[in-house]
Amino acid sequence: MDILIQNLINALALGGTYALLALGLALVFSIMGLINLAHGELMTIGAYALYFMILWAFPFWLALVGALLCAVVAAVLMERVAFRPVRDASMATMLLTSFAVSAILQVAYQNLISPRPLPVAMPSFLGGAVEIGSLQVGMIQLLALGCTAALLLLLVWVFRYTAFGVAMRAAAEDFDTTRLMGIRANALFAGAFALSGLLAGVAALFWVAQRGSVDPLMGFLPVLKAFIAVIVGGLGSLVGAVAGGFLLGAIEIALRALLPSDLLPYRDALSLLLIILVLLVRPQGLMGRRREGVR
């Protein structure tokens, strides 16, 4: 029983990180049709910022804020510098562009910072576990869960009740109409990227806290997972992206916890297989809308 609950928490924590990343991806995709493969590098920037600010003995809370800020600024810059020239291009063009941007950033980290993993020591008050009944729950996991939940709720509020959020949602639904309503495209793009950068930054903090180190390639894997989450959630659906993230987290933890050891090597293949099964049943993804296409 304890194992089950503990694994449930594991799934929520891992899925939450995926969900944050997937939400950032979906936000940018729904507004400009870009699947940003360089999203993971935003995460890495956030993580490096955290590393250096801790190294330079900034107060921990300031380092957290600084890391988030760095990710946001980097995201906005990325949109301005790299993606504006291809804004109206086809999805494949944008995808390749983001691929190139991602590769350039990875090499830049290797050369400008370090090719090897840099350790990030979290302050001791974040270490250890908390006793809840008969359960031992890791402090960081607990924080990750809480923050993810709080952030998602906050975003729901932003999307529902703020002018910025409503415009964002409208743009995600139908970009051209939103433009007609007099909202500046540049502001929307910048806003979407800033928000996705913030989400990547938060995800980076949890990821690094769990991982203990920062390296130039660390962003690739989680963003690949988030990408899968976006697809399974329904491309372009914000709620779907979050659902997809949690689903993927649950599948991964379940497979690792339950698979007999001779099947364990197949866990990644199996989790993809389950995802494909979901897509076979719902080709448009969990929350995607079915569209009438050309035949």
Binding site: A121, L217, L221
Partner: protein, 388 residues
Amino acid sequence: MSLKNALAAAAVAATAVGGAGAAGAQEQVRIGFAAGLTGYLAFFDGMVRNGAQMAVDEINAQGGIAGQWPIEFIVRDMRSDAAAAAVVARELVAADIHAMITPCDVDPAIAAGQLAQAAEIPMMSPCASTPTLPGQVGPYMFNLKTADNLQATVLSEFAHEQGYETAYVLLSPDTPYTDLLPRYFIQAFEASGGEVLEVGTYGWDQQDFSAEVTAIANMEPQPDVIMTSAYEPHFPAFITQLRNAGVEIPVLGSDGIDSPTTLGLGEVAEGVVFSMAGYPAEGSELEAFYRDYEERFGEYLPFAFSASGYEAIMLFAEAIEQAGSLEGPAIRDALDRIADFPGVTGTEITYEGQNRVALRDVTLVRVEGGQQVFLRQVAPDPAEVPEP
């Protein structure tokens, strides 16, 4: 026709720029290194490269090997990828190298090694420690690092001394190092009366260890010790998540975590014991070497990979001097006869009668306060060492 000539000329010119010109001076000894300067091996191969460069410069300052053969050290990036390693090795072989240093992981070492083997070029793997490697590649391949089975035996002996009777072992089938070393440990540990309660596995593309940690935390009874040969980035992730879940079972690791990352992890890495190639005690030759390294490259990195790079060049130099020739087979035979060669890591290195797997001492250290604290330097009891 003129176009073809122009192309050929341009090609030759381009190669000459690359320093791989076919027409090198006769008396130069060319030693190639297919190095992972980018990617996950960058940290290890970077240090090997620097250490080797120090040895090269030292020898060349004295007029070359045996005073007559200066060394040309040719380094090519294989991007931590086995296939790219094969490409680079082909180029090095094409550049007529006399000896080769292979990358720090087994697979790329094999990839590069099979090409050099075919060309009868002696090779040294400075940090791949899998004892089966020389057998897989062939008679021109030599291991330098402390072999996995030696490390595993010393770790097992240590575990018994500490009174650990049961163990949890975490391995990954994705690389020979993370697969074989723990298996040797299981063999040695069980042969000497210990019990391995459970074997967990992780994947190369895995950074979340929460499911594994949960499994450990809920083991009944709890194991006395956890053993793994995971290294970066998996070891930091594993140990961080393990400790943060409140599991305080002691952890044994191997020389893959002989890195600043382990020491920089803070409290979570406290108390981890791991095996390594040599400890830089105050006033030791190794410490002096690390200081020289710091002077030259600006960073004090007390990790044996640089020393291994240095030793690899020195062993080649010794073999070439003994052989008195630059012929591959002659160098190989001389290398195979080396015994009790004093390594800069503070241990003697013997190849004679060892099937090209270096026989050397194993050092154990414990992480305390972000520092390595010396525990012991021992040669394991040969009776207890599992067969490779």
